[in-house]
């Protein structure tokens, strides 16, 4: 009909607010990729302008921006909204949870998307996976961690839920503005900090001042998040809705590849230029203690809120099932590969 035809020509100019600053590598590339794909696939009918944190000046205001419709879209991480609704945290990553590939399967085939919708619906926000960093490192430490005792009184910059887990072992989670992190670690004002991994840590310079780089436990597969204002989404014609969701999915997956690539490249240069940095893993007893503390904390929260319990059950059941396959496939392959070398 004539009406439908008029709709076809209509131009939609959207804006997306992201948590990251301008030119922030990898995370920032993801939004640019997505917007570029949308523009090309829609033949310019839907354009998305990206505003980085320098423009909107509120890195953690993304949720409120999208909820109120000030921005049609946002790019951030779900666990930043833990203070608003504890259940949002599960859609980024959980300590001792699934790795990226497992979590992807959970989102798209294991009921993850449905649970995320259940949590976000009340805010008029649609949430989508927004790109994975891969396994994150446990952090930069000035001292070696040999036993659970070594965590007692350890001042570490580690925000959010993981900080609560560490606090249970006697560590002292500490708030330091990111601009002062380097100085604070250098001068031993704090003893340790976590950031991301080789892909993004090197630009912060921590490898020059901390001798120990520990492997991860608290963010096994950090998935960022695209947010779309539901009303704005519904105002789009069906084809543009599809273009948008496909572009988000492709851009998110591409970020996972890019993270993997950047981590590999940066790790190589770290090893070459800073051979003194020692890569360590926490000893088994330490890992066990962390795992116990994590389970206890999650149980406490699950007892308080049926929704938390539902999400946690879904996550744990799915992990148990899919992990058996990961062990038999990837883990076995890697173990055998190493044995042959």
């Amino acid at each position: 009909s004539a009406l439908a035809h008029a709709d076809d020509d209509k131009q939609y100019r959207w804006r997306l607010a992201e948590t990251w600053g301008p030119n922030f590598p990898i995370f920032g590339d993801t939004t640019k990729n997505m917007a570029k794909m949308v523009k090309e696939m829609s033949n310019g009918r839907l354009t998305i302008r990206i505003d980085s944190s320098n423009k909107h000046k509120s890195a953690l205001g993304i949720f409120d921006f999208v909820k109120s419709g000030q921005y049609q879209m946002g790019h951030s991480a779900s666990y930043y909204w833990k203070g608003k609704n504890f259940n949002t945290m599960f859609f980024t990553t959980v300590p001792f949870g699934m790795i990226a590939s497992e979590q992807h399967a959970w989102f798209y085939y294991g009921g993850g998307m449905e649970l995320m919708k259940k949590v976000y619906d009340q805010y008029g926000i649609m949430s989508f996976p927004g790109g994975n960093t891969g396994n994150q490192m446990g952090g930069w430490f000035k001292k070696e961690i040999n036993s659970v005792e070594d965590f007692k009184g350890l001042k570490m910059r580690i925000p959010g839920f993981a900080g609560e887990v560490l606090a249970k072992l006697g560590a002292k989670p500490t708030n330091i503005p990111s601009g002062e992190l380097y100085t604070a670690l250098e001068r031993n004002t704090i003893d340790a900090l976590e950031w991301v991994g080789p892909s993004l840590d090197l630009r912060m310079g921590f490898h020059k001042i901390a001798p120990y780089y520990y492997t991860g436990w608290h963010e096994p597969g950090t998935e960022l998040q695209f947010m779309v204002n539901e009303k704005a989404y519904n105002s789009l014609p069906k084809d543009l809705q599809k273009i948008l969701t496909v572009a988000m999915k492709v851009a998110a997956y591409d970020m996972y590849s890019q993270s993997m690539h950047a981590s590999g490249v940066n790790l190589a240069s770290l090893k070459k230029d800073y051979p003194n940095v020692q890569m360590r893993s926490f000893p088994k007893p330490v890992m066990n203690a962390l795992m116990v503390a994590n389970d206890e904390l999650l149980k406490e929260f699950a007892a308080k809120d049926p929704m938390t319990a539902e999400i946690l059950k879904s996550l744990n059941d799915y992990k148990d099932q899919v992990r058996a396959w990961t062990n038999l496939s990837d883990r076995a392959y890697l173990d055998n590969f190493d044995a042959k070398k």
Partner: protein, 173 residues
């Protein structure tokens, strides 16, 4: 008119004293946190967050107090050589056209902003952080209300200058 000036002046002076208190508490708070961390290896994210809550209240409310005290910096190249009446005109113009509208619009939008946090029960996402984020957010609308009172106070004071008899007329009395 004088009694209105007196009352509003008193309220804003009390606000100034309150801000001074917040400032001293903030310094003590930060110093305490440093001592506890370094000498007793004890860190509380709640106490760390309290630092900027006090800081925010101090300078946001202080803006209204400073307004009344004429402490906001001006570019005085021409202003200084103006007569008192011309200066009053600048201040009346500025208060009505520049200061009042932005204060009103910040009040309007920060109301929702604060209410949102209240409705969601938003708190800190960090271990041991402070609950009730709406309290610190409410500093923005509250400070706008105080600032409106201060603008009102200055407006009346400046109108008084503008309508006062000029020195010549006064001499004739």
């Amino acid at each position: 008119m004088d009694s209105v000036l007196k009352i509003t002046g008193k309220i804003i002076d009390a606000l100034g004293n309150f801000c001074s208190l917040l400032m001293v508490l903030m310094i003590i708070n930060v110093f305490y946190d440093v001592i506890m961390r370094y000498f007793f290896n004890d860190v509380s994210i709640g106490m760390q967050e309290l630092e900027w809550h006090l800081f925010a209240g101090m300078f946001m409310f202080g803006i209204a107090y400073t307004f009344k005290e004429d402490g906001h910096v001006r570019v005085d190249i021409f202003y200084d050589s103006m007569s008192a009446k011309k200066q009053a005109l600048v201040n009346i113009f500025g208060s009505i056209v520049l200061a009042l509208p932005i204060t009103l619009i910040i009040l309007y939008y920060s109301w929702d902003y604060t209410f949102e946090a209240y409705q969601m029960g938003e708190g800190s996402g960090d271990p041991g952080g402070l609950p009730h984020r709406w309290i610190v957010r409410s500093v923005i609308p509250l400070s706008s209300i105080f600032l409106m009172l201060s603008i009102f106070h200055v407006l009346i004071a400046q109108l008084k200058i503008l309508t006062a008899p000029t020195p010549l007329e006064a001499g004739e009395e």
